[in-house]
């Protein structure tokens, strides 16, 4: 997913969120156009563009977007999270394809970070695959999980094998809500394990698209045995942080 956040005087005035196509440049351009149209501006009216995310080098100093600033995702995450929630000390960002966690001090300086870009079983794509297996809408996955009160441990470490395991569970008359809870627990387990490498410190903040999954949020609380804070519109926090970087660049 490509997210765009437009700021004016550090306030969000427009945003967009579209699925990236094969032509990343075209997709970014489309997302930017969507956001600009919301407030009726054109690209020449944008002072600075900061790029972040896995494909930021595609648009950094490259036409047609020509982003003039690039910043790493974890740094954008921290910046965005701290701006909204200044007492954030650990930010956990789980998106469709990867998960990352970053810890900072009280000044927002990064102490350590960790990421998983390889294992789908620790990212949103796992939910997408399991939604297909359970034949439910991915948007309903979280709420369905909250209807369960039972933990059925999932043995498969890999998304590919987990799909077979889910089918087996269904054939064993395990309910969809119990399976949904197990899947969320499995992801939370992996994300929590990754996060423990950098140390847990409150406040723990969840960002990224997965944070909209209420079942995953519940699983994270239970796994980490601590409260977690979900920031509003969590999928935009990284883009928001990058936009703040762009705003501050103007002020130098």
């Amino acid at each position: 997913m490509i997210k765009v956040v437009l700021l004016d005087d550090r306030k969000t005035v427009a945003k967009s969120n579209i699925l990236s196509g094969f032509d990343q440049n075209a997709s970014v351009e489309s997302a930017l156009n969507t956001a600009m149209q919301q407030i009726g501006i054109i690209k020449s009216e944008i002072t600075n563009i900061a790029a972040t995310g896995v494909a930021r080098k595609v648009i950094y100093l490259q036409p047609p977007i020509n982003a003039n600033i690039e910043t790493a995702e974890v740094l954008a995450d921290i910046k965005g999270a701290i701006d909204i929630h200044p007492s954030a000390r650990v930010v956990i960002d789980v998106g469709a394809e990867e998960g990352k966690a970053v810890r900072c001090d009280e000044k927002g300086k990064v102490i350590d970070f960790v990421s998983n870009e390889r294992c789908a079983a620790g990212a949103g794509v796992f939910i997408e695959a399991m939604s297909r297996a359970l034949e439910i809408d991915v948007q309903d996955f979280g709420a369905l999980a909250l209807q369960s009160q039972k933990t059925i441990p999932m043995n498969s470490q890999c998304t590919v094998f987990a799909e077979s395991e889910v089918i087996s569970l269904l054939h064993s008359n395990i309910t969809k809500e119990d399976i949904a809870r197990s899947v969320n627990d499995a992801i939370a387990g992996r994300v929590a394990s990754m996060t423990r490498r950098i140390g847990l410190e409150n406040d723990l903040v969840l960002v990224g698209g997965m944070a909209k999954n209420v079942g995953y949020v519940d699983a994270m609380k239970r796994t980490l045995q601590t409260d977690v804070i979900v920031l509003p519109e969590p999928e935009f926090i990284g883009a928001y942080g990058a936009a703040l970087t762009a705003a501050e660049y103007q002020q130098k």
């Binding site: 896995v54 690039e70 910043t71 790493a72 995702e73 974890v74 740094l75 300086k109 990064v110 102490i111 350590d112 970070f113 990421s115 870009e117 390889r118």
Partner: protein, 438 residues
């Protein structure tokens, strides 16, 4: 965002000579029999000064540098690795070892310029030590693959140097004495103690000089970067007992000293100093050049400093080159004296200590971080080497606890299939951007 240059820089004048010494080493081993010489194989940790007593025509092929040489040539390396796997050896084994075995199985020999010649030069004897579990088995397999090559192995697991006592030293020295008797029997040659003494003196000199060169890298800007250091330190792994390398390291020391005096930088935009740990992913040394994009320089590592370097605590409390017997006015006169000095000298090397406790290693790494004025540390979680990655996760925690940022990246020194270049460069992007912001 590119960082502008702020220091003058020059190419190293001794670079060409380093390449020549290394090239000649591999060619000499290959051509040893042409002049009636003997071929010896074994690890870089083995007491290579000892077989020097058999004559000036003992030519060696040191296992790890050869494994690294293959790894650098990725096309040949993958063939060697697959040959080893096809023969039944697991992918989780030491990567140098698998590359080496593969070279034998394919019956091909890799020269330093990447030329692959037919016929792996068969060794005449194996001279090895048990520095780690892989080393203990490595040459047993070599012997089998080559139809039975005589092998002598010295067990060096006598504990850390700070616990060395007479009994433990005697344990190693007695094996060395046995080894000399064995060498004479296997080669049919008489042993020359004068040549042993000369080799021991050369080894003390070259390894002390190497530490002296590393100390010079405390300077800001650093006169050497780690990618360059690899090309220089390797000579100490293959020929530390030779006059050629001892003399060459004197030249290097003098040139590096001159660079420090004139403020010549290895990386002209140096602004972030880091160190690494364990062997690098040899097929991807370009990541060191990638650091330079951020003004980053790796000034060395415990691995490059202390695998061959001989160190001691100096009067001012800093780490410096170990004072050689010659510098102390000690004249080595007998075989026994030479062997005791050789054993003690090697057992004192910092890189030998970490096998016993991750705490020793953390202590040494933190010392380097302080004295070499580092901003961060890059740790290579190197799946290819059980020995040097021993305790590395604990080292990471210790370094972080000391307030020094650490990036751990996964890889393999000798198996390119286990190094994700794109992922690693992304991690470096984040790490270096963070260091710049601090």
């Amino acid at each position: 965002m590119e960082i502008a240059a702020k220091y003058p820089t020059e190419r190293l004048k001794c670079w060409g000579k380093a390449k020549e010494i290394r090239k000649k080493y591999y060619e000499d081993y290959m051509n040893a029999h042409d002049s009636g010489g003997l071929r010896m194989v074994g690890g870089a940790w083995s007491f290579s000064a000892i077989p020097s007593g058999l004559g000036d025509d003992i030519f060696s092929l040191t296992g790890e540098p050869y494994g690294a040489n293959i790894s650098f040539n990725k096309d040949f390396s993958i063939k060697c690795l697959e040959a080893a796997e096809k023969h039944g050896y697991a992918r989780t084994l030491c990567a140098y070892m698998r590359n080496y075995w593969g070279s034998i199985l394919l019956d091909k020999y890799c020269l330093t310029d990447g030329t692959i010649v037919d016929g792996f030069p068969k060794p005449d004897f194996i001279w090895q030590d048990h520095i780690c579990c892989s080393h203990a088995k490595w040459y047993q397999v070599v012997s089998e693959l080559e139809g039975g090559i005589p092998q002598f192995c010295i067990d060096v697991s006598v504990g850390p140097y700070n616990e060395l006592n007479e009994n433990r030293l005697n344990y190693v020295v007695s094996q060395m004495n046995d080894g000399i008797e064995w060498l004479q029997k296997v080669t049919g040659r008489d042993y020359d103690d004068d040549k042993l003494i000369e080799a021991v003196n050369n080894e003390c000199r070259s390894t002390s000089l190497w530490a002296e060169i590393c100390v010079l890298n405390k300077a800001v800007p650093a006169p050497l970067d780690e990618k360059t250091i690899y090309a220089l330190y390797v000579l100490g792994t293959i020929l530390k007992h030779s006059k050629v390398v001892a003399d060459f390291y004197e030249e290097v020391r003098d040139e590096v000293k001159d660079r420090v005096n004139r403020g010549i930088a290895a990386v002209p935009n140096e602004s972030i100093r880091v160190m690494t740990d364990t062997q690098p992913p040899w097929g991807f040394l370009k990541i060191f050049r990638y650091l330079e994009k951020f003004g980053g320089i790796s000034v060395g590592s415990l691995y490059t400093f202390a695998l061959i370097g001989a160190w001691e605590d100096k009067e001012d409390g800093t780490w410096g080159p170990r004072t050689t017997p010659q510098q102390q006015g000690i004249e080595i006169k007998t075989r026994e004296q030479a062997l005791r000095i050789l054993a003690d000298w090697n057992l004192s090397k910092p890189e030998w200590q970490h096998f016993y406790s991750h705490e020793y290693k953390s202590e040494m790494m933190l010392r380097i971080a302080r004295e070499w004025k580092l901003d961060g540390v890059l740790l290579h979680y190197n799946r290819g080497c059980e020995g040097l990655t021993l305790g590395i996760a604990e080292n990471r925690l210790a370094i972080q606890k000391a307030g020094i940022p650490v990036l751990a990246f996964e890889g393999n020194m000798g198996d390119e299939r286990e190094f994700d270049e794109i992922r690693t460069t992304r991690q470096i992007d984040t790490f270096m951007e963070n260091l710049r912001k601090r």
